[in-house]
Amino acid sequence: MPHDALHEEARSDSSYMSEDKRGYRTREVDISMLKPASDDGVQLRLKGVDHSARPTWKLRETVTFYRDVLGLPLIHTISARGWGHPGHPDFLHFFFDAGNGATIAFFYYIGTDRPEKYMPEDSYFYSASHTAWSVDTAEELAQWKETLEGRGLTVSKFTKHEGLESIYFRDPNGYPLEVTRRLRDVEVIDAEDAALTIQAAIEIEDAAFAAGEKMRDIDTVWRRKAKLVEARVGDL
């Protein structure tokens, strides 16, 4: 299919559209058919997060936790009879102020039960989907930890990553939350290094998939990264 045809198909009744005709079924999209930004030269810009949203089946607990325990103002609630689609449950969609123009939002689908697959899990895969809020200073991060513990929450130890220091806790839905502070500004070398790491990993993934295998370990990526870095820096 030519590149342009993908979007034409998306506007029609093709299998590239979800049944509600409002989004791609990304699992069916061949990403190589999409156009890179460099083709049209349009530089799209974002200005940070407006909101993230998740479903909840615990209305009172969620409001109590975010508004009354964390102290995030409830700044907007939408209440509606579905979205006008047959079978869509009535719902509440409510937003808590997370600072700097960002909110954390929830959908409460009235009269529904939480499906098994939306139950919280103690797994790395599950915790990968999380919300991380930023604070400016070590003192503020420490205040968050001490204050939340004082309010009865279990909060993780301080964890220093590359460029970030964080604390972690969960909301009453089991959703993982993080408060983090930047330890330093991101430099040009960070982006250049990021590109090399991802290039190395994609090369290793391509080779593994071509052989009908999965990527084996990070060591393999690190070795390919060494090859890329040695090409960058030249003879030793």
Binding site: T159, K160, H161, E162, G163, L183, R184, E187, I189, D190, E192, D193, T197, D219, W222, R223, R224, K225, A226, K227, L228, V229, E230, R232, V233, G234, L236
Partner: protein, 88 residues
């Protein structure tokens, strides 16, 4: 001969400093060149997490700058690498 590359940012500077401090043990530090230090040593190379005061989250990404060698052991406190014939 094992060789690692270390991106020139503060989090990983203790790795470079650790190698520089052990020049008499055969550790050779080159650079930084184009954003990377290179550390090499004949035979076996090792690093101690507590000596470098590396937080665990940095420790387990210690070779993110590139590993021209093979990890022979990787524990909570000590990592050892050796030369390898495996392709990069």
């Amino acid at each position: 001969m094992p060789r690692i590359h270390v991106v020139d940012v503060p989090e990983f500077r203790p790795v470079v400093d650790s190698a520089k401090a052990r020049a008499s043990d055969g550790y050779r530090v080159i650079g930084p060149r184009k954003g990377y230090f290179t550390i090499e040593k004949a035979g076996e190379m090792s690093f101690n997490r507590k000596d470098m005061k590396l937080p665990p989250a940095i420790w387990y990404g210690i070779f993110t700058g590139g590993l021209n060698g093979e990890i022979s052991s990787f524990g909570r406190e000590v990592v050892t690498i050796i030369g390898t014939n495996q392709p990069l």
